[in-house]
């Protein structure tokens, strides 16, 4: 059995992945057409950058078991997300809904869809343009924390806001 991956390490790893993707996107889409090479900046990233969204705003909210209700903590995170998204309107937004593994596969796809939808509705209620947003449910197919107890399950019951 693997030890519990601390949340912060998971976030850091996720941040790295997203940043690499962002750099790759730059190299494909850059106006100059040259090769894009970026150095990873320290701290929370430049204002308006995907890294800033990830580190300073927070890209995910967590849910209780078999619930799609937003906790006060989740609402606070989504408030910050909405503020940021309303300032940087050039990004498209993908909301991924996820469930932990303690449920059946099909129900969890539906539960992930419901969680994603709750987040979309909240962001729209805070002024984010619905036309920027798409959703996707992964059910229990893409856990981020891998172990067999509640410390992981609670991190996997999540909705992730991906700016792209």
């Amino acid at each position: 059995m693997r030890s519990v991956t601390p949340l912060i390490a998971v976030l850091r790893a996720a941040a790295l992945v997203v940043l690499v993707v962002a750099v790759a996107a730059c190299s494909r889409n850059g106006a100059g057409g040259g090769t894009g090479v970026g150095n990873l900046g320290p701290g929370g990233g430049a204002p308006g950058s995907q890294q800033e969204f990830l580190v300073s705003v927070g890209d995910r909210v967590f849910f209780e078991t078999d619930s799609s209700s937003l906790t006060p903590t989740a609402m606070a995170t989504l408030d910050k997300q909405a503020q940021w998204l309303n300032r940087y309107t050039n990004y498209r937004i993908l909301i991924e809904g996820h469930a932990d593994e303690r449920g059946t596969r099909e129900y969890n796809i539906a539960l992930g869809a419901r969680r994603g939808s709750i987040v979309v509705n909240y962001l729209v209620s805070k002024g984010v343009d619905q036309r920027r947003i798409t959703t996707k449910s992964f059910g229990k197919e893409r856990p981020v924390a891998i172990c067999n107890d509640i410390s992981c399950w609670s991190q996997n019951r999540r909705a992730v806001t991906v700016v792209q």
């Binding site: 799609s68 129900y107 539906a110």
Partner: protein, 437 residues
């Protein structure tokens, strides 16, 4: 996938060659297994190697038969080295006295030859009654010689256990590989005993919950190849086609008993409802409505009703509605939640996943909700029951959690004889085929 089939439909009752021995009247079934509850004793059965011009082939076929019968939990094949004779004889009546002396009540004598096709003859004898229980001959394609052993196994099982067999079947499943956080999942199919594995999809996109059509020739499944989960249908090993267009997400497909349509879930704006659509395309019909999650639909074998799971009352529970939708009645009332209902092929039972007390249970109940019986309980995730075609055995999968992967299991409806079905990869989402044509 091509196969020239000389099928069980062409099975012949073995005639008697020139009156070499008198056919006894049909057995009074002294050796028949009476399966009425969990307390029965498996039947000892003697299966000498099959007579063959290739003795090692005859031994191999007999061993496949022994392994099948042993795995059913209803039979105990005796050590072939301990038997009065080592090779079967289908042309003469057995020396019943010597078999009785060896304490053998049920005796199988077989022969098999392999040429352009594989041909086998088998007689099942009741040594107490000195009577033949069954005598048949079968042929099958030489490319897949193991089938002849499965067909023979089904004949033995059916003649002695009062139910039809389930050995000449296959299991469709999801083969899993790679780390848990980025699992590769592809469709695979194998014989029920784990042989002849074929992989049907590349694994580029997540593929989930494959279900065989009633004739075993097509599959409906959920795939992420479009980004979001969508239902696809395909001939086995053939090209796939998205079932419907325009749904944000569709999943949880199952074929109607006539194979002409599929029932499935659509998620849209956080609500999940059940729809039905023809496999040839056309507009889907919406069968449930409301803000709840309605999913995992499954037809009754006569096509008249659909059982599904819904959290409209709070926790997920099982409901039954007419095949055209509407009038859903709740049928599960136990503690916890109920999911993934699957109607038995004979229509008498519904198998499901139940979560309660921190455990996952595989259970069965009658369609009116009575007679609930939990067959298997685990603290690990286990779910996804599927029925063998004789309505006596259920397959499911269990997932230990962490980075380990799931495995396939089976158990009988009496809660006995849980087996691990060996696969060469991690495996989940089994779908048991009907008896092959």
């Amino acid at each position: 996938m091509k196969m020239t089939l000389i099928t069980r439909r062409n099975a012949l009752k073995l005639g008697l060659a020139g009156g070499a021995f008198a056919l006894a009247t049909p057995s009074q079934a002294l050796v028949e297994i009476v399966v009425t509850g969990g307390n029965f004793t498996p039947l000892p059965i003697a299966i000498p190697d099959f007579a063959s011009s290739d003795p090692s082939f005859g031994a191999e076929i007999a061993q496949i038969v022994r392994d099948n019968l042993k795995r059913s939990g209803l039979f105990v094949p005796l050590d072939p080295a301990s038997l009065p004779i080592r090779v079967g004889d289908v042309t003469n009546e057995p020396d019943f006295a010597s078999w009785r002396t060896a304490s053998v009540d049920a005796l199988v004598m077989g022969s098999v030859e392999r040429g352009a096709e594989v041909a086998s003859q088998v007689r099942v004898w009741d040594t107490q009654a000195s009577a033949q229980v069954v005598g048949k001959s079968y042929k099958t394609d030489a490319q897949n010689y193991r089938r002849i052993a499965h067909i023979v196994s089904d004949a033995i099982y059916a003649s002695l256990s009062g139910g039809s067999g389930y050995f000449d079947t296959r299991i469709l499943y999801v083969a899993e590989s790679g780390p848990k956080a980025n699992r590769v999942k592809r469709l695979a199919i194998m014989d029920q005993d784990g042989f002849n594995v074929q992989y049907l999809s590349s694994g580029k996109a997540l593929t989930l919950t494959p279900r065989l059509s009633p004739n075993g020739a097509s599959v409906a499944y959920t795939s992420y190849e479009d980004g979001n989960p969508q239902v696809y249908v395909a001939g086995l090993g053939g090209a796939s086609k998205k079932l419907i267009n325009g749904a944000p997400m569709s999943f949880a497909p199952r074929f109607a008993p006539d194979g002409g349509s599929v029932v499935f879930s659509v998620s849209n704006g956080g609500t999940t409802n059940i729809y039905q659509a023809g496999v040839g395309g056309g507009n889907p019909t919406q069968l449930t409505s409301g803000a709840a999650i309605d999913t995992s639909p499954c037809y009754a074998p006569d096509g008249s009703r659909i059982v599904f799971e819904s959290d409209r009352g709070g926790s997920p529970q099982l409901y039954i509605m007419g095949a055209g939708g509407g009038g859903a009645q709740r049928v599960s009332y136990g503690e916890g939640s109920y999911s993934t209902p699957v109607w038995s092929p004979d229509g008498t039972l519904i198998a499901y996943t139940r979560q309660s007390g921190g455990q996952f249970h595989i259970g069965i109940m009658k369609p009116d909700g009575s007679g609930e019986r939990i067959l298997s309980s685990s603290g690990q995730v286990q779910e996804g029951p599927t029925w063998a075609p004789n309505s006596r055995v259920i397959g499911f999968f269990r997932e230990p959690g962490g980075d380990a992967g799931p495995s396939l299991h089976s158990i009988d409806i009496w809660g006995r004889n849980e087996l691990n079905l060996k696969t060469e990869t991690f495996a989940s989402d089994p779908s048991w085929s009907p008896l092959r044509a």
